[in-house]
């Protein structure tokens, strides 16, 4: 990949380990940011690569520097670069968290054949499979070759982006947008073409920067052209790559009707693209997101360097403001608002509960929804849903299961027949949501309980960690049918969710033992089975669950105790997760510092200001597949290696298509 990019400039030194301050990036010589044309857009895109470049590279790698301007200017005919950043930002507002550094564009670089245009610029474009002819091949290489998301997302994005642009600060990045904003539509395609030619030379970060510039420009030019016109600049480099090139040409040539049709097709494919997570060490994007946000969160000052790509906010100061806003807020439906506040306050925990609450709020919102005049129900409703989802993400990042549910909902909206009246459409959507909740969650739990209970024999000692509602159901049901067994509940700070489970089980008369996770290797000797819940399970069999689960599973493995994971099939994801760092959630660091009934509350103030001390409160961790013996789903008991089989056989029918 480096060979294609050209000579690497002086690398920026990146310190490995936990440091408090973000190292200021070396100032690359920036060209004069005049509003003169394409060249500026290209060169000005390079500063954008400053902050984002880091997140594609693991902490131990040294990212290339941003001195790209000299390379960029040499390109003959630039083409729009589908930077990943803007797309990811859009997607982050709609979907669950995804690995930020997952960039299929890299894998595409070697696979796409050269474009048929013959232009040098198009060649670089084709590296990302821009050619329409290649799109089929490329879509074949990806299970879901879509970037329909950008289509759906673009509508709210544009308005928001415009707002963002209007209130730019004096950051370098904002200058780019300002410059982009002032460009006319005529120069926009040309600028896009120029930037496209740079694709193989720019790093991912710079491409993203370029894309953001185009997005800004597109937002500025939104009034003139159709939505499709800007798509080429927006599309994600990976799967979106198929679209931008044809999209760029299509709107310029064909009518908007055919654009709509092709957009619908692209939309389908894009819907299936796994979303990437917004990277929070990209300061400018974070600022933009904050301007757009409903919930005002203040970022934590003292963040662990390894987790800079995850958002972390000061807790505790938003609720009063937000609660009072509930009656005045018109962009967010009140039911969704309520769910968001519950997430913010930490009232809802547990994947199933969160997902059900969100879906029921969406049901209400859809019921109360009326299509504005001159707007299409499908697109407008999708845009509204996207808005709700961004609000929910601001309150608390989405879990994987919520992401899957949202994908399902958007699919249902998209699949609505065009001839349905508004009330029929709304009724159909609400019933689909209700069916999803009933079949995929409630009924699935019942089936799981039936299967798992066969693995509980008389005299067993079962260990569980934290609080999983499915595991609770299994234990209660086994007790009801008269099996004699003991339960060991392992708990951990700061959430101490196991206490909730303990209270419920003891109230029903089960024999329980309660311990903290530091004693898990002590207690594991007398345990015969371990039952764990899941937040999500990935395609390589990796279990993504509350932090501490991996520890329990590994200790169980060392003691040859079988580990049984109970998870509904709607939580499966076709992503692959290799570690707990790329994709995680940071909780409230004060929760670690403050131990109840301890008198070091005074110390916490000094701890806050201490630069050498950071608190890391991770919420999730990943357990590799080899520590899991069996997964109980509503499709039966399967080994961890069969997750991709279930995804392949059933998720397409049920959720995606």
């Amino acid at each position: 990949m480096d060979a294609r990019r050209g000579p690497l400039p002086v690398p920026k030194v990146r310190r490995v380990g936990f440091f408090t301050s973000i190292e200021p990036s070396p100032e690359s010589p920036r060209p004069n940011r005049t509003l003169s044309g394409p060249a500026e857009a290209i060169t000005s895109s390079s500063p954008l690569s400053d902050s984002p470049s880091g997140q594609f590279i693991s902490p131990v790698q040294i990212p290339p520097s941003r001195h790209r301007s000299e390379n960029l200017a040499s390109r003959a005919a630039p083409v729009p670069v589908p930077g990943p950043s803007a797309f990811r930002l859009q997607l982050a507002h709609d979907r669950a968290l995804h690995v930020g550094s997952y960039n299929p564009a890299d894998s595409l670089l070697g696979t796409s054949p050269p474009s048929s245009n013959g232009e040098v610029s198009e060649d670089s474009g084709s590296l990302f499979g821009f050619q329409r002819s290649d799109s089929a091949k490329l879509s074949a290489s990806f299970p879901n070759g879509g970037f329909d998301m950008t289509m759906a997302v673009r509508a709210p994005r544009e308005s928001e982006a415009r707002v963002a642009i209007a209130s730019t600060s004096d950051k370098k990045k904002k200058n780019v947008e300002a410059s982009g904003e002032s460009e006319s539509v005529a120069t926009k395609p040309r600028k896009e073409k120029e930037t496209k030619s740079l694709k193989d030379k720019t790093s991912k970060a710079e491409r993203r920067a370029i894309q953001e510039a185009q997005r800004a420009a597109k937002a500025a030019a939104k009034g003139e052209g159709s939505k499709r016109a800007g798509d080429s600049g927006r599309a994600k480099p990976s799967k979106a790559a198929k679209q931008p090139q044809p999209k760029k040409e299509v709107p310029q040539v064909t009518s908007s009707v055919s654009e709509k049709r092709s957009a619908a097709v692209e939309k389908e494919r894009r819907m299936d693209v796994p979303q990437t997570q917004m990277q929070y060490d990209d300061k400018s994007r974070v600022d933009k997101a904050k301007r757009r946000s409903v919930v005002e969160q203040t970022e934590s000052k003292n963040k662990v360097e390894l987790f800079l790509h995850l958002p972390q906010y000061e807790r505790g100061n938003q609720l009063p403001n937000l609660s009072s806003n509930i009656f005045t807020l018109d962009t967010i439906h009140h039911a969704v608002y309520k769910v968001g506040l519950q997430h913010l306050a930490g009232d809802i925990s547990g994947d199933n509960a969160r997902c059900i609450a969100m879906l029921q709020a969406f049901q209400e919102a859809i019921n109360d929804y009326t299509t504005p005049p001159m707007k299409d129900l499908t697109m407008d409703l999708t845009a509204k849903i996207n808005g709700y989802v961004s609000f929910l993400i601001e309150c608390r990042p989405l879990s994987m299961s919520m992401g899957n549910a949202i994908r399902f909902l958007k699919n249902q909206i998209r699949k609505l027949p065009v001839d349905l009246s508004e009330s029929e459409a709304k009724a159909s959507l609400c019933s689909e949501i209700g069916r999803f909740i009933d079949e995929k969650i409630v009924l699935a739990d019942k089936v799981i309980v039936q299967h798992a209970v066969t693995k509980i024999r008389e005299g067993e000692v079962l260990l569980t960690y934290g609080f999983s509602c499915v595991v609770e159901m299994i234990l209660l049901y086994a007790h009801e049918i008269g099996r004699k067994f003991r339960v060991v509940i392992v708990d951990s700070r700061p959430n101490l969710e196991g206490q909730k489970l303990l209270r419920r089980l003891v109230a029903r008369g089960l024999d329980c033992t309660y311990t903290h996770i530091n004693a898990v290797s002590y207690i594991m000797g007398e345990v015969t089975r371990v039952f764990l819940g899941a937040s999500s399970i990935f395609s390589n069999g990796t279990l993504y669950s509350k932090v501490g689960t991996a520890c329990v599973a590994m200790v169980a493995n060392a003691f040859s105790v079988p580990v049984i994971v109970c998870c509904e099939a709607y939580k499966f994801h076709e992503r692959v997760l290799l570690d707990s760092i790329c994709s995680n959630e940071l909780g409230d660091p004060d929760a670690i510092a403050n131990v109840p009934l301890r008198t070091n509350a005074k110390h916490s103030k000094t701890m806050d200001n201490n630069k050498n001390l950071q608190f890391l409160n991770l919420m999730y961790d990943s357990t590799p597949a080899e520590y899991i013996s069996m997964i109980v789903t509503d499709y039966g008991m399967i080994p961890p290696t069969s997750i991709p089989v279930i995804v392949r056989e059933y998720r397409r029918e049920d959720l995606l298509l």
């Binding site: 693995k455 069996m630 039966g636 056989e649």
Partner: protein, 353 residues
């Protein structure tokens, strides 16, 4: 054959059958058995005509006595007889009858995995066929019958396919360790000998079934050099072994196998010494079970003679089989191809879900 009761002390009928089969599976008897195959056919049908109500267990027993017939095939032939004798007029009725017959068979011998798997497979096939909605019920019925009767052929063909697939893995001058007396493994070795491969076989004594002696009988007839080992001498001889070949009573969803007692031990030793363990099993042995440890299966007990009197208070471990987890198995040779253990679940999901 003693009827299997529900008490844990009961002797597993499956292993009694197997013992009986072992007695007659030698090639000396096989020719006579072939001739005998035709007669049970007609006698069974006559019985059907006379006795009412139709008893699927008797039918099954009749088929089971044939030495060359796998348990699952016998079960399916019995189910075919159910269809033939059934007076149902709709597909649903037939399905219900079959389900009842299958449950009876399964409960009669809870320990036999291939029996369970065979019944499930047949029911699955019936449900799928009925989904095709034949207008004429009789034509659907006859199609089911034809399929059921062909199943026996499938079993023999499966063995030939497996033998063919495994030829690539047996090279000249190799030493194969065999445990238990599996007809499939025997077919594999026979085919290899017919292909003029030079190899030698170490077979374990296989107490208490005595499979070692029987197998060595068969192999000497094929001019394959055989060496008998005590069961406890496996680790001692594992150095000179190139590969381990076993059959399977059942292949479970995790990709592990359930086989004669001692298989787990041998797989552990082979794994620790980096020797491949190959399993030869037909695809109808794939069962939707998922044992988590050795005791997680229905116990199958068999009588064990020590030759001398044992004091009364001494307990004897009489389990006839064990479970080998998938991480100790290298490859599975099936009529679906050469599979890795994780593919078993894939196949089961496609078949049953």
């Amino acid at each position: 054959m003693a009827d299997k009761t529900q008490t844990p002390d009961a002797i597993s009928a499956y292993y009694q059958t197997r013992a009986a089969h072992h007695g007659v599976i030698t090639s000396d008897w096989l020719a006579q058995a072939q001739a005998a195959v035709e007669q049970p056919d007609s006698s069974v049908f006559h019985d059907l005509g006379t006795e009412k109500p139709f008893n699927v267990i008797d039918e099954f027993n009749g088929w089971r006595k044939q030495p060359d017939l796998a348990e699952a095939v016998a079960a399916i032939r019995a189910m075919a007889a159910v269809i033939r004798a059934s007076e149902a007029t709709t597909m649903m009725e037939l399905e219900i009858e079959l389900k009842k017959a299958s449950d009876t068979l399964k409960s009669w011998d809870k320990t036999s995995i291939s029996l369970t798997a065979g019944c499930d497979l047949f029911i699955r096939y019936v449900t799928r066929t009925s989904a095709l909605e034949y207008e004429d019920f009789n034509s659907a019925k006859s199609r089911l019958l034809e399929r059921a009767e062909k199943f026996g052929e499938i079993s023999c063909k499966a063995r030939k396919i497996i033998a063919m697939l495994s030829q690539d893995f047996i090279f000249d001058g190799c030493t194969i360790l065999v445990h238990g007396l599996s007809r499939v493994v025997l077919e594999v070795l026979k085919t290899a000998a017919q292909n003029n491969k030079l190899f030698r076989v170490l077979c374990t004594e296989g107490r208490p079934d005595g499979t070692g002696v029987l197998l060595s009988n068969e192999l000497t007839k094929l001019d394959i050099p055989v060496k008998l080992l005590l069961d406890s001498a496996v680790a001692y001889s594992m150095d000179e072994v190139d590969m381990v070949f076993v059959g399977a009573d059942g292949v479970v969803e995790s990709g592990g196998i359930i086989n004669m007692m001692g298989t787990y031990q041998i797989a552990l030793v082979a794994h620790s010494m980096n020797k491949p363990v190959y399993v030869a099993a037909e695809s109808y042995k794939f069962a939707r079970l998922y044992p988590l440890d050795q005791k997680d299966m229905a116990p199958a007990l068999r009588p064990i003679e020590f030759g001398v009197k044992i004091p009364a208070k001494v307990e004897v471990e009489r389990s006839a089989r064990d479970y080998t987890p998938p991480q100790y198995l290298t490859l599975l040779f099936t009529d679906l191809g050469v599979l890795s253990p994780s593919v078993v679940s894939d196949e089961l999901i496609q078949l049953y879900l």
